[in-house]
């Protein structure tokens, strides 16, 4: 994270605020400048599929709105005022104080202030998320770790079927809500109890308190969440299953479920029964529309280009290659994975399938991306699966376009999700809808 960025596809550490909003009845408290929270809300939630305020997001977020006084003389007293008020005014189960650039730069001792409240028994934690520290991917991890480290106690007993799910990042993934409930349904389908932690019906603070009881942690993402799993292993000794590919469509989802089942030592038959049922449904529709896929009328895209977070770029590439036999062109990973994870991601793209591999570049800067994609030649119109920023690019290189990555300004997203068997069908409908819609 160093180069200048045109058309950002992720925001700063303070973006962790949205992960708090995603926890049922949790209240973020922003100790930062007056505009920070609103900008994050605009970028990650509103102008990203118009996901909206939710329970305590948007304008409801308590904040210190730091002014010159707080910069010059320190803002700790101001923070106390706001926390006091928040505890009275805001109806929540968990309070998370997030610091912005101002507080972190002038060196307010937020941790101490917050711990005073916690010692008085208030369910409140602090995450130091000054924007300059990194992207909201880091912010998400910081918030989660803060809750784990400052609030959770070792479990009395381990629940053998309980699994904590660390996967897509709330709001950063425009489809997080639908995706997480899909992951839940699939895991429950093979006999596990999924601790989803974010979104509707995820259980709020109570669910978070159960984290130490889990039999294992599932990190369903190329890299985000691994450090969370580490912390949990150190504190509670919980084992980790890392599955880097977001399962979209039958091939990947089945592979994923079998991997999980094996790791969790689940009885074989029920798992297979579930898989057979789901695959049957999925392939019924692929079969029904097979004429369409094969007749490839209307120049359905010859090559596809992903411009998205590694979790989507990889998941969707595997899906289009495995299920629709489409071919990858240049792939672009925009979530700036830490160096130590890049080799693995490169390898996944190199080995999409025997005889099918893809070049990948890591960049979150539209200027760089656009120059790279203009270099390539295309026999048929390519398909760009990326953010709304890329609509112009798609037009320039004569391709088709579907927005699935932040920021999504040209779609409204409610409970749509792309994960799993159903998700795959949904993605097919959306991709070809966007193609056919251009005629």
């Amino acid at each position: 994270m160093s180069a200048t960025v045109e058309q950002p596809r992720q925001f700063c550490t303070l973006g962790g605020q949205q992960s708090v909003v995603a926890i049922e009845r949790a209240i973020p408290i922003v100790h930062g400048g007056p505009g920070c929270s609103g900008k994050i809300f605009g970028g990650m939630s509103f102008f990203n599929g118009f996901q909206g305020s939710g329970y305590a997001g948007g304008n409801a977020v308590p904040g210190t709105n730091s002014c010159e006084k707080d910069i010059v003389f320190g803002g700790e007293q101001r923070l106390r005022e706001v926390i006091d008020g928040a505890l009275k005014v805001m109806d929540g189960d968990l309070f998370v104080v997030l610091t912005g650039c101002t507080a972190d730069l002038v060196g307010d001792d937020t941790a101490t202030v917050v711990s005073e409240y916690r010692e008085r028994g208030v369910p409140i934690v602090h995450a130091s998320t000054g924007g300059f520290k990194g992207y909201n991917h880091l912010g998400h991890e910081l918030v989660v770790k803060a809750i784990i480290e400052q609030l959770l106690e070792p479990a009395k007993a381990i629940h053998p079927k309980l699994v904590n799910v660390w996967s897509v990042i709330p709001y950063q993934d425009t489809f997080w809500a639908g995706n997480l409930s899909a992951i839940r349904e699939h895991l429950e389908g093979i006999g596990l109890e999924a601790n989803i932690l974010f979104g509707h019906d995820s259980g709020g603070l109570a669910a978070w308190k159960r984290i130490p009881e889990a039999a294992f942690n599932l990190v369903l993402s190329p890299w985000v969440g691994l450090s969370i799993a580490d912390v949990l292993r150190q504190r509670f000794g919980t084992p980790v299953l890392h599955y880097p590919v977001l399962p979209i469509g039958a091939v990947e989802t089945t592979r994923f479920l079998r991997t999980v089942a094996e790791f969790a030592q689940l009885p074989f038959q029920p798992v297979e029964d579930f898989i057979v049922k789901k695959e049957g449904h999925f392939y019924h529709f692929l079969d029904r529309a097979a004429d369409f896929f094969m007749e490839m009328r209307w120049d359905l895209p010859g090559r596809f280009i992903n411009i998205s977070d590694s979790i989507y770029a990889l998941g969707i590439s595997r899906f289009l290659v495995n299920e629709l036999s489409l071919h990858p062109a240049q792939q672009v990973v925009t979530d700036e994975p830490p160096e130590e994870h890049r080799e693995a991601i490169r390898r996944h793209f190199a080995e999409l399938k025997e005889k099918v591999s893809a070049e990948v570049i890591f960049s979150n800067d539209s200027d760089t991306i656009s120059r790279q994609l203009h270099k390539q030649g295309y026999d048929l119109p390519p398909l760009i699966v990326g953010s709304s920023w890329d609509r112009d690019l798609a037009r320039e290189i004569g391709g088709f376009h579907l927005s699935i990555a932040m920021p999504v300004m040209d779609r409204l997203v409610l409970d749509r999700g792309y994960v799993g068997y159903e998700g795959g069908l949904r993605l097919i409908e959306d991709i070809y809808g966007s193609v056919l819609g251009t005629y």
């Binding site: 695959e279 692929l286 004429d291 094969m294 007749e295 490839m296 009328r297 209307w298």
Partner: protein
């Protein structure tokens, strides 16, 4: 003698004109020989699956004329393909950089009482409506089984409305039951065009070459410009004025002589526009021969030779490379006869084996009657013999064949047929743009496309695992020709 008689509103079917057939099982060489010796006969099938009718082919061509309207005098089901032609139309316009617009199609929506009392008023009404709504330069009235069986005199109505509206109103006799060979529909559409649209030449434009084709991308202009010729693609996406002046061109060529045989022959017999009588320009040998024939027709032999040489040079390296990669792969082709022959040649020239071909029908001769253009003969001579089935889209026969042939790739040119290859797990694609493989550079495009298909067959594999075929085990054990009776 000429088969083209524009005094009549109707013309004989292909069976009657050309002795065409829709069923045959044997070697390409046998089929060619039988055709040449005039001993070719059809073997009716007892069991059949649905095929297509002349109505679709006729409406397809006419509905893509940009300032004409089509009135389908039929019950509503015969309008089932309106939506397809609409998409073809919008899609074609977008590709040609124009704003997409709906096709100008109207159905008279014949119902029970019309069947009893006749639907003549409705037809008049519909023609007037079409005129009011679209202000077209011409209106085509396509007939249907129902309109024919109830015995309506649509020609009389058309002539009367032509008087009234002062624009050509042409009837198109594409009743579904008249012919087993749906390409008869092309003939009747062209017949209507020859009768009512094409004018005698005002001035000859020898540099202009008519290209009879579908909706494919214009790959001809680039080729022709190099030798100072101008490609005039018809009928789709042309307008009435351009079609009216077909008679002024220096020659007529076709991307598929099954498609254009009647129009080309008509332009030659009526207006003396020479038809280039050669197999279509697919594959090196085919393209060479076709270009040379064209060169002779327009007296540009030397320019053509230079063009051929330079194009060969341009594609050689990649072609070699492709041949290496495709070597040993086996293909199977299913398409309309002449275009099918072309695709088979292309595969062979790409270094592939061709396990065989399935063609929707076979014309033992073309309207011009000149054997020089026999594309099947050409295929056998240039690329060797192969098993051939003639089968008007009988999926049960095709699938029976494919299961025996087990090709590495299956190439199809007709909606609805590709899916059967896929359900057997065979990498399959439909040739949507009929010009995709055309001429020299098409050879390369097509090769790359095949490589893509065979390099990532996962879609087909999964489909095969999960798709259920609607055929009995019994059938799959029988020979493909089981239901063909002996010739009557």
């Amino acid at each position: 003698m000429s088969l083209v008689n524009i005094a009549h509103s109707n013309l004989p079917t292909r069976e009657q004109r050309l002795g065409s057939i829709v069923s045959f099982e044997g070697l390409a060489s046998e089929l060619a020989e039988l055709s040449r010796s005039g001993r070719l006969q059809d073997r009716p099938r007892s069991f059949t699956q649905v095929s297509s009718c002349a109505s679709s082919c006729a409406i397809c061509l006419l509905s893509l004329i940009q300032d004409a309207a089509v009135v389908n005098h039929a019950p509503l089901g015969c309008a089932g393909d309106f939506s397809m032609f609409n998409l073809v139309n919008r899609y074609g316009l977008v590709k040609r950089g124009q704003t997409p617009a709906n096709a100008r199609l109207v159905s008279t929506n014949l119902n029970e009482s019309d069947a009893v009392f006749g639907g003549s008023q409705k037809l008049e009404q519909a023609i007037r409506d079409a005129y009011e709504r679209f202000r077209p330069k011409a209106i085509f009235v396509t007939a249907s089984c129902a309109s024919a069986i109830t015995g309506e005199d649509i020609d009389a109505i058309a002539d009367q409305l032509e008087e009234e509206l002062k624009i050509p109103v042409a009837t198109v006799h594409c009743e579904g039951f008249r012919s087993k060979v749906w390409t008869t529909g092309f003939d009747v559409a062209y017949h209507a065009i020859l009768r009512k649209i094409v004018r005698p030449p005002e001035r000859r434009r020898l540099e202009v070459v008519n290209v009879i084709t579908f909706w494919g991308e214009d790959v001809f202009s680039e080729l022709f410009n190099k030798v100072g010729l101008e490609a005039n693609l018809v009928v789709p996406f042309a307008d009435i004025e351009r079609i009216a002046r077909l008679s002024e061109s220096g020659a007529t060529v076709q991307m598929c002589s099954t498609l254009g045989t009647y129009l080309a022959a008509g332009l030659e017999t009526i207006y003396g526009v020479p038809e280039v009588k050669a197999p279509p320009p697919y594959g090196l040998a085919g393209t060479d021969a076709w270009l040379r024939a064209l060169g002779r027709a327009v007296h540009k032999e030397s320019e053509i030779e230079e063009l051929i040489a330079s194009e060969h040079e341009a594609i050689r390296p990649e072609l070699e490379d492709l041949r290496q990669q495709l070597k040993g792969l086996t293909g199977y082709v299913a398409a309309g006869s002449v275009h099918g022959h072309s695709l088979a040649s292309v595969l062979r020239e790409l270094g592939m084996n061709v396990a065989g071909g399935c063609f929707w029908h076979h014309d033992p001769k073309l309207d011009h009657g000149d054997p020089a253009a026999d594309s099947l003969e050409h295929l056998v001579k240039e690329h060797g013999d192969m098993p051939v089935s003639i089968c008007n889209k009988q999926a049960y026969e095709l699938i029976n064949q494919l299961r025996r042939m087990k090709p590495d790739v299956f190439i199809v040119r007709h909606p609805g047929m590709a899916v059967w290859g896929g359900k057997l797990g065979i990498p399959t694609f439909l040739v949507e743009d009929e010009h995709f493989a055309l001429a020299y550079r098409g050879l390369l495009r097509f090769g790359r496309k095949i490589l893509d298909a065979v390099n990532n067959p996962s879609f087909y594999k999964h489909l095969a695992q999960h798709a259920k075929l609607p055929y009995t085990e019994w059938w799959l054990q029988q020979g493909p020709a089981t239901f063909m009776k002996e010739a009557e």
